[in-house]
């Protein structure tokens, strides 16, 4: 737990563990953590758009906030919690092998290249 902001860190996702998980991130490592985090959130936003959902970071960049078009929001404490929460909100499995999702991502890529 962070004594300053009261954030609980119950789990560090394996993909965020290339930085030393025993160290409090600061300076350069905190910049790197934020950059990686931003890249992750940006990609997840592209994926979730296919399911009519959006995602953003909370102020401390430790939790993810998922939302749908009805204004419902869910907080996910780690990347591992994002996908079950998204599936609940979307009412269907959020599957990276789904052909329609892959076509959606390719269309986005083609759009940004143009």
């Amino acid at each position: 737990m962070c004594v300053l902001c009261g954030q609980m860190f119950s789990e560090i996702h394996w993909s965020e563990r290339l930085l030393d998980p025993q160290q409090v991130s600061q300076g350069e490592s905190e910049t790197k953590r934020r950059q990686d985090r931003y890249a992750r959130t940006r990609l997840i936003a592209k994926v979730l758009a296919h399911y009519g959902l959006d995602i953003s970071d909370d102020w401390s960049a430790t939790n993810y906030v998922l939302g749908n078009r009805k204004g419902v929001q869910l907080v996910a404490a780690s990347l591992a919690e994002v996908w079950p929460a998204a599936a609940r909100m979307a009412g269907r499995a959020v599957d990276p092998l789904d052909g329609a999702l892959l076509r959606h991502l390719r269309r986005l890529g083609a759009g940004s290249d143009a």
Binding site: S15, R40, V47, L79, A80, W83, A93, L97, L102
Partner: protein, 340 residues
């Protein structure tokens, strides 16, 4: 001890009568009093004469909402915590290595799951490798008929074909092919009277040079079209033309394992993420070992690869999905190709 200062844990598995205890006895004979503790789930026909053998009764608890690999091995969690207590109170010499010999029909993945998720154990113990023994005399029938044997082979980092002195050479060559079909990443040793026991050593699987050697050999005898006869179990080895984007890879793999975890039986590889050294990936079902970032490329290995063993999933779809995600995440020039 591992590099991170945690105590190494080797999981020794293998079907009933496949020579686990013989291998273990031989290993202990050479490592007596060296901080090695053995946890045994069942009493075999061959006794283990070692002063630090602990017998435990298997107690598995399936977590609510979890699949089979989300089974917590309460017996092992309790035993390992007790070992820590004994060590820290000075009643046990410093622990360096724990060998867990599972019962013949046990699935090794819940052992890894328990180590990775227990809030105390994960700071003190690190899985070193899963070693699986395969009886050279009975392997063919056991692989065909026993789903437990296939699970053990898929979860293995190392396979030891035992009783090699009793089986014809052709049979052993055939077993190698069958094992490679199920798990192209496993290193295979052949043992006579337990003489390959050093595969149990704490540093055996963490040996980066051995890994590199294995990568070199992978394309030579790996048949990418090899389709196992077992319930749609297939494997694919993927290579990449440019370094992968690590945050994007984390998102993709996390998502894949969340939805398809029970059918992604194994992932193993060495990934170039654009740094000086690669990242070692190892996952058994959806239990992902914390990725290890090597400071430099191991000798002999100079390229990324990633092997997937799946059940009921078209491996080509995995390659397509990984490439699409990487491109959507900014690596627009990345191409994923099947290693041949």
């Amino acid at each position: 001890m591992t590099a991170a200062g945690r105590r190494a844990v080797t999981v020794l598995s293998g079907f009933l009568g496949s020579g686990k205890t013989t291998l273990l006895r031989r290993y202990l004979a050479g490592h007596s009093g060296a901080g090695v503790v053995v946890i045994i789930n069942e009493c075999g026909a061959v006794g283990v004469d070692h002063h630090l053998v602990r017998m435990v009764q298997e107690q598995s608890v399936v977590l609510q909402g979890g699949c089979v690999c989300c089974t917590r091995r309460e017996d092992l969690v309790g035993e390992l915590r007790e070992l820590l207590d004994l060590e820290q109170s000075g009643r046990l010499a410093p622990l360096r290595h724990v060998v867990i010999e599972t019962s013949g029909i046990a699935d090794p993945v819940p052992v890894l799951f328990s180590l990775a998720t227990d809030p105390v154990l994960r700071h003190h113990f690190a899985p070193a490798s899963v070693v699986v023994t395969l009886d050279a005399l009975n392997a063919a029938a056991q692989i065909d008929r026993q789903p437990e044997v296939r699970k053990q082979i898929i979860a293995a980092d190392r396979i030891v074909v035992t009783k090699a002195d009793l089986a014809p050479r052709e049979a052993i060559a055939h077993h190698r092919i069958r094992v490679r079909q199920l798990n192209p990443t496993a290193k295979i040793s052949v043992s006579r009277m337990g003489d390959a026991s050093e595969v149990l050593a704490a540093g055996a699987a963490a040996d980066a040079d051995a890994d590199a050697d294995h990568v070199r050999r992978l394309p030579a005898d790996y048949d990418p079209g090899a389709l196992s006869t077992h319930a749609g179990v297939r494997s694919i080895a993927l290579g990449f033309n440019v370094p992968l984007d690590w945050p994007v890879f984390g998102v993709w793999l996390g998502m894949l394992l969340q939805v398809r975890g029970p059918d992604v039986l194994r992932i193993k590889g060495l990934l170039d993420i654009g740094d000086a050294g690669p990242v070692v990936m190892n996952a058994a079902q959806h239990v992902v070992h914390p990725p290890e970032h090597l400071p430099a490329w191991p000798a002999g290995a100079d390229r990324s690869y990633l092997v997937f063993i799946t059940r009921g999933i078209d491996p080509a779809r995995i390659a397509e999905s990984l490439e699409t995600f990487q491109r959507a995440g900014g690596r627009s020039d990345l191409r994923v190709r099947e290693l041949a």
